[in-house]
C-alpha cells in the first residue's frame, strides 16, 4: 500500500530514524568485530590442532568441525541463549550473540586456514628441507607466507558470511541492523519497503567494503604483481 501523502514521504521513515539505523549499524559492526577476532584466534588454534602430529588433538579438532558445520547457526544460538542459563551462565544478549557467532565461525576459519596450509605445494616444503632448513625455518620462511596468501580470499568469504550472520542475533533480542529494521517496519507500517531497503543498503556497505579490502590485500600480496 503506497503512502497516502505521496512518493517523497516514503523515505521519511528512514530519514526520521537515522539515529536508530546508526545505532543498529554500530551494533552490527561491533558484533562482527568481536566475533571475528575470537573466531580468528580460536580457528587458527583449531587448525594448528588439526595439522599437528598428535592424534588426540587432530581428532578433537575434526570432531568440533564436523559437529559445528552440520549444525545450523540458529541451533547454536539456542544452545547459548537457552541452555547456558540453565547451568547458571548468564550474560547480556549481546555477549551471548558474540559467543554463538564465534563458536560457529571458528569451525569455518579452521577449515579455511587448514586448506591454505595444505594448498602450498608439497615441493616447496621438500625443497626447503633439501636446502637444510629446520622445521621452524621451513614453516616460517617458506610455508606460512604462501599459506597466508592462499588464506586471504577464503577468510574474506567467512568474514562476509559472519557479517551477514550477525542478523540472526535480531531473533535473540539484540537490536542490530536487522532487529532495528524489523522494529521500524512495525512502527511505520506504510513504509515497510523503504525501511527494509535502508537496512539492506547498510549491510551492502559492510559486505562490499570487506570484499574491496580483501581484493586490495590480495593484489598487494600477490607473488606476481597483477
Amino acid at each position: 500500500m503506497p503512502s497516502p501523502t505521496g512518493g517523497w514521504s516514503l523515505i521519511d521513515a528512514v530519514l526520521d530514524n537515522l539515529d536508530v539505523f546508526r545505532e543498529g549499524f554500530v551494533r552490527t559492526l561491533l558484533l562482527s568485530l568481536f566475533a571475528a577476532v575470537a573466531a580468528l584466534l580460536l580457528g587458527s588454534l583449531l587448525a594448528t590442532m588439526r595439522v599437528s602430529p598428535v592424534p588426540p588433538l587432530r581428532w578433537a579438532g575434526a570432531t568440533y568441525v564436523e559437529i559445528v558445520r552440520n549444525t545450523p547457526l540458529t541451533v547454536v544460538f539456542f544452545f547459548v541463549v537457552f541452555v547456558l542459563p540453565q547451568i547458571d551462565i548468564v550474560f547480556s544478549y549481546f555477549t551471548f550473540a558474540v559467543v554463538a557467532l564465534a563458536v560457529y565461525h571458528t569451525a569455518f576459519v579452521c577449515e579455511a586456514v587448514r586448506a591454505g596450509v595444505n594448498g602450498v605445494d608439497a615441493g616447496q616444503a621438500e625443497a626447503a628441507r633439501a636446502l637444510g632448513l629446520t622445521f621452524p625455518q621451513t614453516l616460517r620462511l617458506v610455508i606460512l607466507p604462501q599459506a597466508f596468501r592462499n588464506v586471504i580470499q577464503p577468510l574474506g568469504s567467512v568474514g562476509s558470511a559472519l557479517i551477514r550472520n550477525t542478523s540472526i542475533a535480531a531473533a535473540f533480542g539484540v537490536q542490530e541492523l536487522t532487529g532495528v529494521s524489523q522494529g521500524l517496519t512495525t512502527a511505520n507500517p506504510s513504509d515497510v519497503i523503504a525501511v527494509l531497503l535502508a537496512g539492506i543498503v547498510c549491510y551492502l556497505i559492510l559486505t562490499l567494503s570487506l570484499a574491496a579490502g580483501v581484493g586490495l590485500a590480495e593484489r598487494r600480496l600477490a607473488a606476481v604483481p597483477r
Binding site: 559437529i67 540458529t74 587448514r114
Partner: protein
Amino acid sequence: MSLVLADPPGPRGRRRILIASLVAAALLIALVVLAMLRLADKGQLDPELWQVFADEPDLRTLLWEGLLDTLRAAATGMVLAVAVGTALAFARLSRRRFVRGPATTVVEVLRGLPLLMLIFFAYLGLPELGVNLTAFWALVIGLTAYNGAVLSEIFRAGILSIDRGQTEAAEALGLRGTQIFTLIQFPQAVRRMSPTLVSQLVTLLKDTSLGFVIGYTELLRQGRSAVEFLGGRYALPIYTTLAVIYIIVNGTLSLIARWLERRQSARADGPARTPGDTSVGDTPAELVP
C-alpha cells in the same frame, strides 16, 4: 594435496608424540568430565529430563512433523535455486552487456545480504506490493534468492573451468551460443560442480531453520514450542536432539559430497597420495558458513 612438513619421526620423535598424545588426551577428557559435572550439578542430567521422548509420544510426532516441514522447504528451495542459479549464470556469461551487467549486479547484491533480511523482505515487504505469502513461501523465496545467486557463481566457475576446446569444437560443428551452453558447457559444469552443489544443499538445509523467526513450523520452531510448553529445564535434552537430527541429515549429505569429490579427483588425476607422506589431511572443498 597434502604437505610434507617434516621428515618421518624417528624413535625419539615418536616417543615425544606419544607423550604429547597422552597429555592431550588427559586434558580433553578432563574438559569433558568438568562439563559433565557442571551439568549434573545443575540437575541437567536427571534421567527424568532425558526420558521426555519416551514419556511424551506427542513430542515425537511434533518433531517428526517439523523435520518433514524442514525437508519440504529445503527441497522446494533447492529446486527453485538451481533454476534461478542457472538463469543467472547464463545471463552473466552472455556476450551482451545489457544482459550481463544487471545480472552481475543482482548476484553481487543478493550474495552480500543476510538471508534473514531477504526473508523479512518477502514476508513483510512483498505484501506492501500486493503479494501476500504464507510463511512457507516467504522462507522459500528468501532461500531461493540467496542460494540462486550463490549457485550461479558456482555454475559460472564450473563453466569457465571447462576447456576452451570444447566451445571451439562446438562452434566448428556449427552450434549456436544457446546450444553450446545447454548441450556442451552446462552438462559438464554440473557434473564437475556436483560436490559443491551438494555442500550448498547442506547450507540451504541449515538455513531453513531461519523459518522459525517468521513462524514457519519447521524443526527448530517445533522444538522451541515444546520447550516453552514443557519448561526451560527441557532445553538441553530437546535442543540436543534437534542438533543430532540436523547433524545426521547434513552429515549424510556431506558424506555424499565427499564421495562425489573423491570419485572425481580419482578420475581427474589418479591416486592423490604417495605412500609414506606425513600427510595433514585432505584439502576440504571451500566451506562457506
